[in-house]
């Protein structure tokens, strides 16, 4: 986003807000990921301990989600840049 037309006080204010939002966003992502991986990996409740298979599944699920989100982020940035370029023509 472009904050260049803002003055220094406004930019400082925005970066504080953004920092706060990033924290909130991270916490939300964390809890969503726990929910997602728990639902995908844990279906057997004959034991209270996480089996090694389940643990491996959770590790893979987390890994894969982060890679997924990274890839979506890259494509998202590309699309954004494209539409920005089209709009400024």
């Amino acid at each position: 986003m472009d904050f260049s037309q803002m003055n220094a006080a406004e930019q400082a204010h925005m970066s504080r807000v953004i920092e706060k939002k990033q924290m909130q966003d991270f916490l939300r992502m964390y809890s969503n990921l726990v929910e997602r991986c728990f639902n995908s990996c844990c279906n057997d409740f004959t034991s209270k301990a996480l089996s090694s298979k389940e643990e491996q599944c959770v590790m893979n699920c987390t890994d894969k989600f982060l890679k997924h989100s990274e890839r979506v982020g890259a494509r998202f940035a590309e699309q954004n840049a494209e539409s920005m370029g089209a709009a400024s023509k």
């Binding site: 986003m1 904050f3 803002m6 003055n7 220094a8 006080a9 406004e10 204010h13 925005m14 807000v17 953004i18 939002k21 966003d25 939300r28 969503n32 997602r36 991986c37 995908s40 990996c41 491996q56 599944c57 959770v58 590790m59 893979n60 699920c61 987390t62 890994d63 894969k64 989600f65 890679k67 997924h68 989100s69 890839r71 979506v72 982020g73 494509r75 998202f76 699309q79 539409s83």
Partner: protein
């Protein structure tokens, strides 16, 4: 010195609440779209059988197409809503834009 200083130029060192509000709205909108994009494309492209921690080729291609398509849908819906708004304004509809639905 006015704290209710009008739009446009705000003295340096002061925060124009209107402008900050606009920027926050834009930020919220972008974050929201991104989070929905991640969640939708994950549901549609990534198999929930987590045999490995890497995205395989099929999943990667699916994600790329999913993002492009999501943007296209976003654009189409935006255009549709805009034309509906324009149509309602043209017919002089005084009720809500969705009153006829």
């Amino acid at each position: 010195m006015s704290f209710l200083g009008g739009r446009g130029s705000t003295p340096a060192g002061q925060v124009n609440p209107e402008r900050v509000e606009m920027a926050m709205q834009e930020l919220d909108m972008i974050t929201d779209v991104f989070n929905k994009l991640v969640s939708s494309c994950h549901n549609k492209c990534v198999s929930p059988r987590y045999a490995e921690g890497d995205l395989n080729k099929g999943e990667s291609v699916c994600i790329d197409r999913c993002v492009a398509k999501f943007f296209e849908v976003n654009k189409k819906v935006g255009e549709k809503l805009q034309s509906m708004g324009a149509g309602a304004a043209a017919t002089g509809a005084t009720q809500s834009a969705f009153g006829t639905l």
